[in-house]
C-alpha cells in the first residue's frame, strides 16, 4: 500500500463531520434502493438481474460486432463515430473540432468517462471554457475537486459547504437553503446553455440496433446539453454498447432503482443523429466518441472482464462498509468504491496502487446489490493474486511471501503446527482470562501491533482444542 493511500484513509477517518456526511448520504441511498427493489415493488428483480448479466455478457463477448453495428447505424442517421484509444486522442478530437468551428464555450453533462480522461483540464489548458451543468458536478468544478461518488459527485458536501463555495467562487451572498443555492446555479447555467457552442455528454447505453445514445438523468441539464448547442459530442467507454433497444426494458428498470431508489429517472433521452430536415430542435452535428483507455486489456480474461458489465449505478458504493468509512477521495482514481477497486487496477495496472484490491473485508455486500451481477469479491480475489504475482516478479514484499511460505509449511505439518501453537501460547500474556490490551515491547511489531492499535487481543487459552480432545 502506498503512503498516500494510507494517509488519505487516515485523514478521512479522522474527520468526524465528513464521516457523518458520508455515512448519512450513503445510508439514505442504500435504504431507498432496498425499498425500490423489494418484492412488493419489483417482483421480478432477481430475474431482471440475471437477464441484465446475460445481455452484458453477450455484448462484451461480441463487442466488435456490436460496436460496428452501432457505428453503421449512427452514420446512417448522419452522425459520426470516433474511436479513441486514450485521453489525448479524446481531447485532440474535441480541440480540433472546436478550433475548426471557432467554438469557445462548452457545456457538459455528467460523465465519469470524461472525468477519467481529465477532459475539462485538458480543454481549459487550451483556452476553452468547459462548464459542468449537473449541479453536483458544477459544485465540484467550482471547488476544484474530483467527484466523490459515481452517481452523487458532491455527496460529501453539506449545504453549508456548498454555500461557502458559491460565495467564494460566484461572489453571491452566503445562502444555505438548498432551493436558493440551486436557483443561483440555474441562473448561471442557463446563460451558459444559451451561449454554448458545443455540448458534451456521456452515455449510459449505446444501442447498437438503433445507433442511439441513451442518457439517464434527473436534472434536465443533459437534455439541454445535447440539444441546445449546435454540436453534440457523446463520449462513452466502448463497454457501454448493448445489442437492442428492447434490452433497455431490462436496464432502465434496474438502473434508477439501484442508483437512487427511483422507479425511473426524471429524464431518459434517446438520441440518434443530428437534427433532421423538418425537425425544430436538436444539434446540427452529432458525434459519438468511443473510448478504449485500457478497456480492451480486460477482454482476454474470461472472469475479470465481467468488470466491464458495470452500468455505473453506484449501488456498490452505497452499501460498501469500506466506502462508507473512507469515502471517494481516498481511492486512487476517479472510480471509487468496490467497482473502482476492481476497474482501477485493470485499467491502470496492478502496481498503480497495489493496496487497493486488499482494502476490502470481502464482505460481499457489493456483489449482492450489483444489478448486473458482477462478482466483485471474486474479481478482488483474482486481483490480489495478480498483485502478489507482480510483486514476486519484481522481488517486492519478500518478507510477506516468506511468511506465507512458512504458513503453508506449518499448516501441512501437524506436529510443527502443534509445537508452534504451544510456543506462541507460552509467549503470549495469559491475561488471566481477560482480553489483552497491550503486550511486551518485543512483541509490539507487525500484525500484532496493528491488531492492538484498535482492539484487544484474546487471552491465550491454557490448552488447545486438540489437547482438550485427547483428554476427553
Amino acid at each position: 500500500m502506498s503512503v498516500e493511500f494510507d494517509q488519505k484513509i487516515h485523514t478521512t477517518l479522522e474527520d468526524a463531520n465528513l464521516q457523518l456526511a458520508i455515512y448519512t448520504a450513503t445510508g439514505r441511498l442504500k435504504q431507498k434502493r432496498v425499498e425500490a427493489v423489494a418484492a412488493d415493488s419489483l417482483p421480478d428483480y432477481q430475474e431482471l438481474r440475471t437477464q441484465a448479466n446475460a445481455i452484458k455478457k453477450h455484448a462484451i463477448e461480441n463487442l466488435d460486432h456490436y460496436l460496428e453495428e452501432f457505428e453503421r447505424n449512427v452514420e446512417a442517421r448522419g452522425g459520426k463515430v470516433i474511436y479513441c484509444k486514450d485521453a489525448t486522442e479524446v481531447s485532440d478530437f474535441v480541440l480540433d473540432l472546436a478550433k475548426e468551428r471557432g467554438s469557445k464555450l462548452i457545456v457538459k453533462s455528467k460523465s465519469m468517462t470524461t472525468e477519467e480522461v481529465d477532459l475539462n483540464e485538458r480543454l481549459e489548458h487550451h483556452g476553452l471554457e468547459s462548464v459542468e451543468t449537473d449541479l453536483g458536478e458544477y459544485i465540484l468544478q467550482l471547488a476544484h475537486e474530483k467527484p466523490y461518488h459515481i452517481v452523487a459527485p458532491a455527496l460529501h458536501k453539506t449545504r453549508y459547504d456548498v454555500a461557502e463555495i458559491f460565495t467564494r467562487e460566484l461572489h453571491v451572498p452566503n445562502e444555505t437553503e438548498p432551493e436558493k443555492i440551486t436557483l443561483t446555479a440555474r441562473a448561471v447555467l442557463r446563460e451558459k446553455f444559451l451561449h454554448a457552442d458545443i455540448g458534451i455528454s456521456g452515455a449510459n447505453f449505446l444501442v447498437a440496433d438503433s445507433g442511439a445514445v441513451t442518457i439517464i438523468e434527473n436534472e434536465g441539464n443533459a437534455r439541454l446539453t445535447t440539444t441546445a448547442p449546435k454540436i453534440h459530442i457523446a463520449i462513452a467507454g466502448i463497454e457501454k454498447v448493448i445489442p437492442r433497444a428492447q434490452d433497455l426494458a431490462v436496464f432502465l428498470k434496474l438502473l434508477a432503482r439501484s442508483a437512487t431508489g427511483q422507479n425511473l429517472s426524471v429524464y431518459a433521452s434517446f438520441l440518434s443523429g443530428p437534427r433532421r430536415p423538418g425537425e425544430i430542435d436538436g444539434p446540427e452535428e452529432f458525434y459519438v466518441v468511443l473510448l478504449d483507455n485500457g478497456r480492451t486489456k480486460l477482454l482476454p480474461d474470461r472472469s475479470k472482464r465481467q468488470s466491464l458489465y458495470c452500468i455505473r449505478c453506484g449501488a456498490c458504493l452505497n452499501t460498501c462498509p469500506v466506502y462508507r468509512k473512507i469515502g471517494g477521495h481516498s481511492f486512487p482514481w476517479v472510480y471509487s468504491g468496490p467497482i473502482g477497486a476492481i476497474i482501477t487496477p485493470q485499467f491502470m495496472g496492478v502496481s498503480h496502487e497495489p493496496g487497493l484490491p486488499f482494502a476490502s473485508s470481502l464482505c460481499g455486500a457489493c456483489g449482492e446489490v450489483c444489478p448486473v451481477k458482477i462478482d466483485i469479491p471474486k474479481v478482488l480475489l483474482d486481483l490480489r493474486s495478480d498483485v502478489k504475482k507482480s510483486e514476486a516478479r519484481e522481488g517486492l514484499n519478500r518478507l510477506e511471501l516468506f511468511a506465507f511460505r512458512i504458513f503453508a509449511w506449518v499448516m501441512t505439518h501437524p506436529q510443527a503446527y502443534e509445537i508452534g501453537g504451544k510456543i506462541a501460547a507460552s509467549l503470549a500474556p495469559s491475561g488471566e482470562g481477560k482480553w489483552i490490551s497491550s503486550v511486551p515491547a518485543f512483541m509490539r511489531i507487525g500484525p500484532l501491533k496493528a491488531w492492538l492499535s484498535v482492539r484487544d487481543l484474546p487471552p491465550s487459552p491454557p490448552k488447545s482444542f486438540r489437547e482438550l480432545w485427547r483428554r476427553r
Binding site: 500500500m1 484513509i9 487516515h10 477517518l13 462498509p321 469500506v322 468509512k325 493496496g355 484490491p357 486488499f358 482494502a359 476490502s360 473485508s361 470481502l362 464482505c363 460481499g364 455486500a365 456483489g367 449482492e368 471474486k378 480475489l381 490480489r384 493474486s385 495478480d386 498483485v387 502478489k388 510477506e400 511471501l401 506465507f404 511460505r405 504458513f407 503453508a408 506449518v410 499448516m411 501441512t412 501437524p414 503446527y417 501453537g421 506462541a424 501460547a425 482480553w435 490490551s437 500484525p447 496493528a450 491488531w451 492499535s453 484498535v454 482492539r455 484487544d456 487481543l457 484474546p458 487459552p461 490448552k463 488447545s464 482444542f465 486438540r466 489437547e467 482438550l468 480432545w469 476427553r472
Partner: protein, 241 residues
Amino acid sequence: MGKQVSLFVTCMVDQLFPNVGIAMADVLERLGYRVDFPESQTCCGQPAFNSGYRAEARTVARHFLETFAASEQIVVPSGSCTSMITHHYADLFQKEPETLALVHAMEKKVFEFATFLTEIAGVEDVGARFEEVITFHDGCHALRELGIKSAPRRLLSHVKGLELREMSPAEECCGFGGTFSVKFAELSGAMARTKVDAILGTGAKTVVSLDPSCLMQIQGALSRAGHSIRTMHLAEVLASR
C-alpha cells in the same frame, strides 16, 4: 449407534477458542452422533488465499482434502472456513481436474454447524437453556456466500429463556476480513466500532455468531471500549443447559 461426524474445528478454534469446539462436540453427541477429530487437521488455507498467495493456499487445501478424505460428514464451527472449502477450493484447482473432482466430492460433505443441525440432523430444538437477552451477528460469508440466515435463528428460537433482539443495521460487516484487519487496522477498527454501536442499540448482554473470527473482532472492540458485553459462538449457547 448414531451416525459418524468429523469435526473440522478450524485453526482459530483450536488455538484460541477451544471451548467452541468442545461445545460443538457436546451438542452433536447429545443428538446421538459419534464424533471424531482427525488429528492431522490444521487450517483451510483461507488466510493465504485471501492474501493473494494461491500456490500456498493450494498446498494447505490439499492437506485438508487428504485429512478429511475418509470422513463422511464434516462439521465446521465457521461459515467463513466452510465457504472457503465449498465455494473457493474449486477456483483454486480449476486447472487440476483430478483434484477438482476431489473438491466437488468434498463440497457435498462439509457443513457449517448451524446448517448441519437444521438441514442434516433435522433438529431445531437441541434442549438448550440460556436465560439472557442476546443479539445475533450474521458473518458475511455465512450470510452471503452460504445463504445462512434462518438456521441459527430457528435454533435460537427454541433455546429456553433466550430473547433474541436483532440489531440495526443487521447485515453490515464487523470489519474483520482476515489479513484486512491488520493491513487496514484503523479502517477495520472504525468498522468494528459501527458494529459495536449497533450491538449497544439492542441492549443485549451477549453477541452470538457462527464465526469465531467475527467474534474475536467484535469482542476485541467491545473490550477496548470498556463494554462488559460478551461474545459467544452459537455452539456455546446451544450447549448450555
